[in-house]
Symmetry: C2
Subunit: 351 residues, 2 copies
């Protein structure tokens, strides 16, 4: 493997056309991207080059068999223009875990990190400094090899592209606890960030949106009795003063924000339980007033408070608390991410 990164700079930066005070999420793309090809049994030709179209044969397996995975990461800039990542190796390790399940070749960590760092160095000016904004980083890998045969491809591409982004959700979210559709099978690929997991959620999510909700909270496909995750985020439930989240499994994504929140909560004296959560206990807690909070946690969503949820054609509102766990934990994790607080965990990586 030749890991020397080739650099091709753009001759037409788009940065002056970007309104950094009004950034959408994930739809304005930076000048460059990192690309690496897997062929002849090895990763090769790592290059930072202008963000530009990808050309593929119509029989490329990505179009037919959904052999693709991705990650979501963020880069932050502090007041002194230092650039920081948050637990980036964890994303690389999870990318490789997804790769293994989807029979995509794993990317060496050093190559991934070298490409990412070189890209951020070149597109440093694209990392927003506005509060609540960050550079969303999207590493993805897909089957670029050809053939109408349902088997793994022989060629792949890793691309890291970036998008300066504002908040994923505008304000609190309303969720629907799913009773009919399911996101993942036992023994399936729910734990992987596989492309197909996301498209599979669009239809039930669209039905939920038509009913006035923002997201679906998935339940197990067999009984619909256990709360799993929300597709774009893991879910935390606070009953009285205990914060509960479902254990990860082969159906539930091992969220990096999820595990960071769990750690921070424990270390600041919050009573934390990682265990199965039944829908019925959440309903009972909502009814007897012990359900204080629910929130989602994920790289894009950060910590997203849930205003209320629907279940069996009934809506349940969550109380407005003066000092919710969600706000406290969100501040703690973003302060670490953006170098506004000490990082006792070694999660922050300065570039």
């Amino acid at each position: 493997m030749n890991s020397e990164i080739k650099i091709e700079l753009t001759e037409h930066s788009k940065i002056n056309s970007v309104d950094f005070d009004n950034l959408p999420f994930g739809s304005v793309f930076s000048d460059h991207m990192f690309v690496c090809d897997f062929k002849d049994g090895q990763w090769q030709n790592p290059t930072v080059k202008p963000y530009s179209p990808i050309t593929l044969d119509p029989s490329a397996k990505i179009f037919h068999y959904g052999q693709s995975i991705f990650e979501g990461m963020k880069a932050y800039k502090d007041a002194d223009n230092n650039v920081m990542l948050f637990r980036p190796l964890d994303n690389c390790k999870r990318l490789n875990k997804s790769a293994e399940r989807m029979v995509i070749p794993q990317i060496p960590e050093e190559l991934f990190m070298a490409g990412l760092k070189k890209l951020l160095e070149i597109d440093n000016a694209w990392i927003p400094t506005n509060d609540g904004s960050s550079l969303y980083i999207r590493p993805f890998m897909f089957a670029s090899g050809n053939g109408f045969h349902a088997s793994p491809a022989n060629e792949y591409k890793l691309i890291i592209a970036t998008a300066p982004s504002g908040a994923y959700f505008a304000g609190k979210v309303k969720v629907l606890i799913e009773e009919k559709y399911a996101r993942a099978a036992n023994g399936g690929v729910g734990f992987a960030k596989a492309g197909g997991n996301y498209a599979a959620q669009f239809y039930p999510t669209q039905l939920a949106i038509e009913k006035g909700y923002n997201q679906v909270i998935w339940t197990d496909d067999n009984t619909h009795e256990y709360i799993e995750e929300a597709g774009a985020m893991n879910i935390f439930v606070r009953i009285n003063d205990t914060l509960i989240t479902s254990p990860t499994s082969d159906r539930i994504l091992d969220g990096i924000t999820r595990k960071s929140i769990l750690q921070i909560a424990k270390d600041t004296g919050i009573d934390v339980e990682e265990r199965k959560i039944t829908v019925s206990e959440v309903i009972a807690a909502a009814q007897n007033g012990s359900l204080k909070e629910m929130f989602g946690a994920g790289t894009a969503a950060v910590v997203s408070p849930i205003a209320g949820f629907g279940y069996q054609n009934k809506d349940y509102d969550l109380p407005e608390l003066e000092k919710p766990f969600a706000a406290k934990l969100k501040k703690q994790i973003t302060d670490i991410q953006t170098n506004k607080a000490e990082d006792p965990y070694g999660w922050r990586v300065m570039l």
Copy 2:
């Protein structure tokens, strides 16, 4: 919708480079393809053009969220050079059923059929006449719209490409009945020909191949007690003289070969049952000698006899019959497909 089909012919036909006596499956592509774009809320610009690369933005949702579906069809030529399709509208209807579940806009049947017919007219010379060969047709639709946001795209492409092809499997197949991994969730997308369903099968299939099997027979994700399908084909089991196949469900593909075989079998006096099949009854039947045959059925696989299966680290061989149902049914269906027999069902469509 403008459904007038634009034609752009290739200036460099590749047909003379093809060895029609030694065709692989799905890896030699014909000169042209049919392309239609969905944008601004409608299907537009239907064109038959040279088979050529597709260019997409790196943020195109196909790369990230697996929003793609496909179909498999075949065109046949008889001794008089008549061109025939088999139940093509059923493929179009199933494509649209998959589209609905994956939030991809449905394609009008007339447009689909007009594009397909025009393509086959132009690439008529690519339809093989050799016994056992046919023109494999791959219609597929995918999200070409952009953005790092897990939501349906606003633009899509439908492409129909074709590949003159020989047999999908060389000879009988050995299958492994799966005990750990699963293909589909209840309430999931297993019934759809969604791209992500296929990549999700690669890893368990690879493990099976390493153990000496060709394919996995999927079981339900909850108990692994019920036989479902084989990913590339539906499964039939013959116990004594009764032919049994699992009912379709939201986990099992409604195979066109499957339902045709069911119909032909019934009409030729074979005792047919469409009901849940337990792994334990198959094992018991293998042990007491009443398990006579197993075979797969699908467009690519046609009717593929199974030589034996593995389960819980034990191999079960199927007997060599003199007049297996599989051979009889395969002949009946291919005779209808290739105009060697009467078609009492109206399945064959002459172009």
